[in-house]
Amino acid sequence: MSKKIDVKVEIIADTIVVGPPKLTRFEKARIIGARGLQIALGAPILIRIKKDITDPIIIAEEELMKNVLPLTVARLLPDGKYQNIPLSWLIKGV
């Protein structure tokens, strides 16, 4: 049985070196969920949006698509190395 990795080493690079060049659907779901929660708790929204749209999830999705979220995706490899990737790098490909 392989050992659990506790040591985490950050990979510093100015391109995406871990994982695919675009946002995976799982990352997308995670980000929309996290941002949706913020909005549901009353965080101010970062884009102009039609008055009748009130669902936090829809707003979060819209924000993600407009690339206004200052978030970082941490992609962790099974060997403990990881890269922090600015969300905007991943959005370009979408």
Partner: protein, 892 residues
């Protein structure tokens, strides 16, 4: 609520409880058979003694001082006046008794054998970390056959187990004597013998003496479970009703008491033995009230008691019902019914259900006004709310609020409002058996009247649902994270493509297919009024193109109308389902209009049928749109065309009836001739067989040859008869339209209805079982001809004779049995496969690993392709690319 972990488990060891251990863990020795006295207080040293824990909300436990939730209860014990055999171990005790000496209790093997086997067992245990049960069973069997003890030379006697718990010994006077004396072994005798077994010998008997001494299988002390395990309930009439286990324990204590008193008073042996046996009965039924050989203990009302084993066993038992099965809040279940006006992404939720299921919404300064309105509407009218949770965690039930205005006004940011389900909320929709991931998909709520869940017909295939009474479950994700995941990963439109074979699993079916054929076939033209009707009912506003026929009347072809819904930039070439598979395909000039070409979103030639828009079709138009234009476009396309087709079909009218399988007289005569010939040929073959002049097929016996020949003749005759009927059933026949376009049924089915039902079979052969040498008494013994072996000459149209009907029922029954057997075995195989693969995951470095991080594949599927996003398993569809490039540029 913070959850206190009582203990952290790092290892589990199973074993038997020793009498000492039982006493050690006991907080009270129970000696009184009564539970409560007149004023309702628990009797000390009774079965409800306060030290056993508390079930009364107001009281504190007398042992640990905790209240109901925190105190998990404490065991007591009963000192049994005489040892009692534990039913659960009767077989094991029996096996051991047979394998040991009745005098010295050594295992009946020589020292050498003992040593040898011991080494084997230890080696096996070290290597595999489990007992070598095969070897142990062998040892037990071998030892049971020994007649004289190798250690003390005592003559052994045969041990008999009389189920469930009585042991007998058949003693012989000498080795040679035939007369045996039958003597009962009391539990005390049994226990004495087992006490003398050495720890080393235990190993050979399959027992680890460290955790379980064999004599512990005969009880001297009985644990009394805490009251939390057998709570009493107070009925309305304030009469206490005790748990079945308590009833049983009362019996045990009472008899135990009487037994002890009798022994102490020196009562006659007979009386003591009777009481002992009675105590054995009560303890046995306390463990298991369904053992064979003794009547189950019953309640006063005559109901059998539900004791320990019954609590665990079976579908309603602890394992299957409470440990493997969990029930959840925020869920509902009802019958499903179809609604073609819904999107595939939607689910119709009955109003009543939408007012029971809630979503918690945090009050913020942005939504406070909206939520106040919901509160004012309350729990009884639709977009309302059921509960408010204040910041300090206090729940306000809006059902009991008189002044809603006050509550609404007191609302402030930070509160949580549990509001009704409303249109657009995301929910999970599920139909059992949940065999693949498409069995649970996310849908958007559409609140509707009436009491069924409504769903679009295109999502029937992934759920494998129909509307003959099927029920489905609905779950409401509560947190924003859960809702986001459901929406992005599980929404029905994200599941159109199946991960099993890169093609759409969600697609048009049945009537949609018939309608698409009727709309897009060559000769279908529509006036401006009709065309506009169709387009409007699709829910989309599209301009009509130039009419295909301008004089004398403006007429639009069905292909033109359908083309409005195909997304621009769609290119597609394929044959239709109705294709006759001509030897030389005329392609665009096909006579049957079976060559479908779509150029830049315009349907140029061909009819649209199952191959273009159906579910589970490879290389379909729907699949093309899905891959080229994405889920959103594909969903819009599907939603629009299905609504269009419904309108077209109800405008044109479509029905199936008796006339669809009615064929002219000349056809009937031809079919009769064919069948007469076949039956004659069969008779001739049988004659040849009887005379022994039938030529044997290579590698076959005469019987097999005959059967094969007959089967061939008859099946050929059925096919020809069907074909003859088919000649008279043209494309204007609704049943034929359905069969040819792939909407429902097949030409084979039609042939069976119109021409001849054909040979019925059981186990892949002609029906041969029934009476001796014949299937039914209507035939001569040894009959081999067609009718006697299940050939049905008639059609469903003409009707079956009673004999034919019987033969048909034989075949039908086999079908039913097969499906029943197949589902259960394949279900179990699926379960085990899923269990083996369940936590395999693709990591960011592309490797596929199991839960321990071990690599299973270096790249997923060895090609890194997600089958759901592939072109039928391949990464590129060259034909589609060539088609797109060549066919479009040539035209320009």
């Amino acid at each position: 609520m913070a959850f206190k972990l009582p203990k952290i488990i790092d290892a589990l060891q199973f074993g038997l409880l020793s009498p000492d251990e039982i006493r050690k863990m006991s907080v009270v020795r129970v000696i009184t058979a009564d539970t409560y006295d007149e004023d309702g207080t628990a009797i000390p040293s009774g079965l409800m003694d306060g030290r056993l824990g508390t079930i009364d909300p107001g009281q504190r436990c007398k042992t640990c001082g905790n209240r109901v939730g925190e105190c998990e209860g404490h065991f007591g014990h009963i000192e049994l006046a005489r040892p009692i055999v534990h039913v659960g171990f009767n077989k094991k005790i029996y096996k051991i008794l047979r394998a040991i000496c009745r005098e010295c209790s050594r295992i009946l093997l020589t020292e050498e054998e003992v040593y040898e086997n011991k080494q084997k067992i230890l080696k096996y245990e070290k290597r595999w970390e489990q007992a070598n049960t095969d070897l142990i069973n062998e040892i037990l069997k071998k030892a049971a056959k020994i007649v004289t003890c190798p250690h003390c030379q005592a003559l052994q006697s045969k041990i008999k187990l009389e189920k469930p718990t009585t042991f007998f010994e058949e003693i012989k006077a000498s080795k040679k004597s035939k007369v045996t004396e039958r003597k009962k072994l009391s539990p005390s005798d049994v226990r004495d013998r087992m006490e003398r077994i050495s720890d080393d010998d235990c190993l050979l008997l399959g027992i680890n003496a460290k955790h379980a001494r064999p004599e512990w299988m005969v009880l001297t002390v009985l644990p009394v479970p805490p009251v939390a395990m057998r709570p009493s309930i107070t009925l309305e009439s304030s009469i206490r009703s005790e748990d079945d286990l308590t009833h049983k324990l009362v019996d045990i204590i009472r008899i135990n008491q009487r037994l002890r008193e009798n022994i102490e008073a020196g009562a006659p042996q007979l009386i003591v033995e009777d009481l002992w046996e009675l105590l054995q009965y009560h303890v046995t039924t306390y463990f298991n009230n369904e053992v064979s050989g003794i009547p189950p203990a019953r309640h006063r009302s005559g109901r059998a008691l539900r004791t320990l084993t019954q609590r665990l066993k079976g579908k309603e038992g602890r394992f299957r019902s409470n440990l493997c099965g969990k029930r959840v809040d925020f869920s509902s279940r009802t019958v499903i019914s179809p609604d073609p006006n819904l999107s595939i992404n939607e689910v119709g939720v009955p109003l009543e259900i939408s007012m029971q299921l809630t979503i918690p919404e945090k009050v913020t300064e942005w939504n406070i006004e909206e939520l106040k309105e919901l509160i004012m509407r309350g729990p009884a009218s639709h977009p309302g709310a059921n509960y408010i949770i204040r910041q300090e965690g206090l729940r306000i039930d809006l059902r009991f609020v008189k002044e809603k205005r006050n509550v609404a006004d007191s609302l402030e940011p930070g509160f949580i409002v549990e509001r009704h389900l409303k249109n657009g909320d995301i929910v999970l929709f599920n139909r059992q058996p949940s065999l693949h991931r498409m069995s649970i998909m996310a849908h958007k709520v559409k609140v509707m009247p009436y009491r069924t869940f409504r769903l679009n017909l295109c999502v029937c295939p992934p759920y494998n649902a129909d509307f003959d009474g099927d029920e489905m479950n609905l779950h409401v994700p509560q947190s924003e994270e859960a809702q986001a995941e459901a929406r992005t990963l599980m929404l029905a439109q994200e599941q159109i493509s199946s991960p099993r074979y890169g093609g759409p699993l969600i697609g048009a079916n049945w009537d949609y297919i018939s309608a698409s054929y009727l709309l897009t076939k060559k000769e279908s033209f529509f006036s401006r009024k009709e065309a506009m009707q169709f387009i409007v009912s699709s829910g989309f506003n599209k301009d009509l193109p130039e009419p295909e026929i301008k004089e004398p009347e403006e007429l639009w072809s069905g292909k033109q109308i359908f083309s409005l819904f195909i997304p621009e930039d769609t290119h597609y070439t394929n044959t239709a389902k109705i294709c006759q598979k001509c030897t030389e395909c005329l392609e665009e000039k096909c006579e049957n209009d079976a060559y479908v070409t779509v150029r830049n979103g315009i349907l140029k030639t061909g009819v649209i049928d199952k191959k273009a828009i159906g579910s589970q079709q490879e290389g379909s138009l729907l699949g093309r749109i899905l891959i080229d234009q994405g889920n959103d476009v594909a969903r819009e396309f599907l939603d629009a065309i299905t609504k269009l087709f419904i309108r077209v079909l109800s405008y044109k009218g479509f029905t199936v009836g008796f006339w669809n399988v009615d064929i002219p007289k000349e056809a009937k005569t031809r079919i009769d001739e064919i069948l007469d010939d076949a039956e004659k040929e069969t008779r001739e073959t049988i004659d040849a067989y009887r005379q022994g002049i039938l030529e044997r097929l290579p590698g076959r016996t005469f019987d097999e040859t005959l059967e094969m020949k007959i089967m061939e003749i008859l099946s050929k005759s059925r096919t020809t008869a069907s074909d003859v009927a088919g000649e008279y059933l043209g494309m204007e026949n609704e049943a034929v339209i359905m069969a040819k376009t792939g909407a429902r049924g097949s030409m084979l089915n039609l042939g069976q209805m119109a021409a001849c039902l054909g040979q019925q079979s059981v186990r892949g052969a002609r029906i041969k079982r029934g009476f001796r040498d014949r299937t039914l008494p209507h035939f001569k013994p040894g009959a081999l001809d067609a009718p006697s072996r299940g050939f049905v000459r008639n059609s469903f149209r003409r009707g079956l004779t009673p004999i034919e009907f019987f033969m048909h029922a034989c075949g039908g029954r086999e079908g039913l049995v097969d499906t029943a057997v197949r589902t259960s075995t394949s279900g179990y195989m699926q379960r085990r496969l899923i269990h083996a693969l369940l936590d395999i995951k693709a990591e960011y470095d592309g490797t596929v690993r199991d839960a321990n991080g071990e690599i299973i594949q270096f790249i997923y599927g060895d090609d890194g392709i997600d089958p759901a996003k592939s072109e039928h398993g391949k990464s590129v569809n060259i034909d589609a690319v060539i088609d797109r490039v060549l066919k479009t540029t040539v035209e320009e």
